[in-house]
């Protein structure tokens, strides 16, 4: 399914995580085995290995992805796996709230997303306009793409409900995340962008939640 895989470049000295990574890597006979319990796997081997099994349910994940830099592409693999039920016991309903532009569904479908399991909402103020949907048990994965209004209190609220209902909230920012400052609530923070000189290659950089690490991942793309 995926083309050439560039070996992951790891910049960590955390022995616990290293051993866990090695364990995961050594037992990875098939893609599904890369997912850890309570995590949403993408079924992309390199991506899941890099994120120690996937994105953790019950938390907020924050992704920095500047406009026009292609950083949302790796995330689509997680959405595809969730909506098809390939990495979860059942196909998940996904709510994707975005603040600008028009969603182009054929591209999502072409990358494996089951469109019948995704609801889109155009909203820059998701807490004000989508609160019942954010709290609904129907949606296990909720993506807030570049919300224009999301305060620290809102993040506290989302983190509480994520933990309470085992949901995964993914917040995408239109800028690169920095190592210092910002809210304490996102448990995993990473930046994602396309390698300028290598079309189809994406660079991931963990800012918080895992030991500092960077990977260049090749995806079937343009």
């Amino acid at each position: 399914m995926y083309g050439l895989i560039i070996p992951m470049e790891r910049l960590t000295n955390n022995s616990d995580l290293l051993s866990r990574l090695h364990e995961l890597g050594s037992t990875a006979c098939r893609p599904a085995s890369l997912s850890a319990p309570g995590r949403l796997a993408s079924l992309h081997p390199e991506l899941d290995r890099f994120l120690v099994g996937g994105l953790p349910f019950g938390t907020i994940v924050e992704i920095g992805s500047p406009l026009g830099r292609g950083g949302r592409r790796p995330l689509i693999d997680f959405i595809a796996a969730a909506t098809q039920g390939r990495s979860t016991p059942l196909p998940c309903w996904v709510l994707w709230a975005y603040s600008s532009g028009q969603v182009y569904p054929p591209a999502w479908r072409a990358h494996g997303v089951n469109l019948s399991r995704v609801c889109f909402a155009r909203s820059g103020k998701p807490l004000a306009q989508l609160r019942p949907a954010l709290l609904s048990p129907l949606f296990k994965v909720i993506v807030l793409d570049a919300p224009t209004q999301l305060s620290g209190d809102d993040l506290t609220f989302l983190a509480h409900h994520a933990r309470l209902q085992g949901k995964l909230f993914i917040i995408i920012r239109n800028y690169m995340l920095q190592r210092d400052g910002h809210s304490i609530w996102p448990k995993l923070r990473l930046n994602s962008w396309r390698q300028p000189d290598q079309p189809g290659s994406y660079r991931l950089d963990v800012v918080r939640g895992l030991s500092p690490r960077t990977a260049v991942i090749r995806m079937d793309d343009i």
Partner: protein, 515 residues
């Protein structure tokens, strides 16, 4: 296939039933003829059909037959005027049952609608247009125009139609590319359909604005804007049927209130009281409420409570979560507007009125009346609680990027049976709807978000670009998407990837961004 937006029905409605058995938006057209606007209840009936393991057309026909008797006749169409025309023709031929003008048989039948049916419907319409005081409408002038038109039609309606050019050029002086088109029955009397090529502008010149409008409704031109008025989105003289007295409850407060937290518990109490009124029916489903506030200077303000799908108040007795969400959204908007005008008036009372309600006939098992935890039900209820819509999409067999998808209705993922669907029916624009698309592989190189195309200033960008695809234009349509496009990923100086195309004239357009 889903339901059309309108049904024209005729029959003896059972005395025990309300005309709102299928939808709260009903118009009494003439004697035993009713017009139903189904647009607010599509998802609801589709869900009901799924629960009962039947096609939605079958379910609707069954409800109409049980409500109006076995001799009922009904026509389903996307425009009420077309439904009325076909219904008049069914009446003339004493045909019963339900017809869908979007199906092949319905379309063929519509071609047989004769001039008598057309003129009788036009006469009936003049009554409603007069009642609604249509702008620039004069019943006497309209009737005179109709008589003139009838005279012209009778002149050009010989037993043996004359050669094409002699007939219509003398009579209507119009360009009629289709008329008279009678290859299969050269001696059959001509119907309005044979004159469908006549331009509405020609009709307007000879027979006035209203006849031209009716002509446009009879044979809509693709790509032309529908004439709209304030009375109805389609410009149709829609006169809503309503009960003699709308169910309502009133409240008078001892002290003025202004804050939502103080109002919400009282509103819940009043919603409960609505469910205890003598007019209350357990089978009713509400789609619109009005919260008519009386302010402390005795002025009034109305806060609408609108539901996307028919909502059961009885099901949420005690908390009314859905209605309270909608009330909160509308009340917040009202408060914002008041704040802009520095209006600090308190609320001293209100009236809560049910504006629109659907009363299910007793033989219909209600979707929400039984325990059902399907995802579809969750979504329907959720959509009623939100201030903005949740969109879902499905793909179309279309190679032009912006027309390769359509909005999907809530019910669309559960289709137990769809016998009416014509496989891969292809429209005039060369596209058909399906769950998958053969153009999908091409979409891998397209972005996840697109924009309305806007001119791209190539001066500010580097020359680096990657050719992606060539999209052939729909040259036969005089609309956007008619021109051939060469798509590229254009990379600007800041390494941002822009989805852009160059048209046949060499102009660059930005159409999206690879975010």
């Amino acid at each position: 296939m889903t339901l059309a937006d309108f049904i024209a029905v005729e029959g003896d409605l059972l005395p025990s039933l309300s005309p709102t058995v299928l939808t709260p938006r009903v118009m009494h057209w003439h004697e035993q003829t009713w017009l139903l606007d189904l647009s607010s209840c599509h998802s609801y009936w589709q869900s009901q059909a799924i629960r009962q393991q039947t096609a939605v057309h079958t379910l609707v026909e069954d409800i109409l037959r049980r409500s109006l008797g076995t001799n009922m006749r009904a026509v389903m169409a996307d425009h009420p005027w077309q439904a009325l025309l076909a219904l008049a023709q069914m009446r003339a031929r004493t045909l019963n049952g339900m017809l869908d003008l979007r199906h092949k048989f319905g379309r063929a039948f519509y071609q047989q609608v004769d001039w008598d049916a057309w003129f009788s419907c036009a006469e009936e319409l003049s009554t409603h247009a007069t009642t609604l005081a249509w702008p620039r409408f004069h019943a006497a002038v309209f009737r005179r125009h109709l008589r003139q038109m009838q005279a012209v039609i009778s002149q050009i309606q010989p037993a043996n139609p004359p050669p094409q050019h002699a007939s219509h050029h003398n009579a209507l002086s119009t360009h009629t590319p289709h008329a008279p088109h009678t290859p299969h029955a050269p001696h059959a009397p001509q119907t309005p359909w044979h004159w469908r090529g006549t331009e509405p502008s020609s009709m307007r010149r000879r027979f006035g604005m209203t006849v031209a409008l009716l002509w446009e409704w009879s044979f809509p031109r693709p790509g032309t804007d529908r004439q709209e008025s304030k009375t109805h989105p389609l410009g149709f003289p829609w006169l809503p049927w309503s009960e003699p007295e709308k169910p309502h409850v009133s409240r008078h407060l001892e002290t003025p209130l202004a804050h939502w937290d103080e109002l919400a518990p009282l509103l819940v109490e009043d919603l409960d009281r609505l469910c205890t009124l003598p007019t209350w029916d357990e089978r009713e489903r509400v789609t619109a409420l009005s919260w008519r506030l009386t302010l402390d200077d005795l002025s009034e303000a109305t806060v609408p409570l609108l539901f996307r799908h028919p909502h059961s108040l009885a099901r949420e007795r005690g908390h009314h979560q859905t209605a309270v969400f909608q009330a909160n959204y509308s009340f917040s908007a009202h408060k914002k507007a008041a704040a802009r005008e520095q209006d600090q008036r308190g609320i001293v009372g209100w009236q809560l009125v049910i504006d629109e309600r659907l009363v299910l006939p007793p033989f219909v098992k209600d979707l929400f009346g039984e325990q059902s935890d399907s995802d579809t039900r969750h979504l329907l209820m959720l959509e009623n609680q939100l201030s903005i819509p949740l969109d879902r999409y499905e793909l179309r067999e279309d190679w032009v990027p912006e027309t390769a998808f359509v909005t999907r209705s809530t019910h669309a993922d559960e289709k137990p049976s769809a016998p009416e669907r014509e496989p891969h029916s292809t429209g005039a624009n060369g596209a058909s709807e399906s769950d998958e698309s053969s153009w999908l592989p091409v979409a891998r190189s397209r972005p996840f978000y697109i924009d309305v195309p806007r001119p791209l200033d190539t001066e500010g960008h580097s020359t680096a670009r990657i050719f992606l695809e060539r999209v052939t234009g729909k040259w036969w349509l005089n609309t956007a998407g008619a021109s051939q496009r060469d798509y590229y990923a254009v990379i600007d100086r800041e390494h941002r990837w822009i989805w852009a195309y160059r048209d046949q004239g060499g102009t660059w357009w930005a159409h999206g961004r690879f975010d």
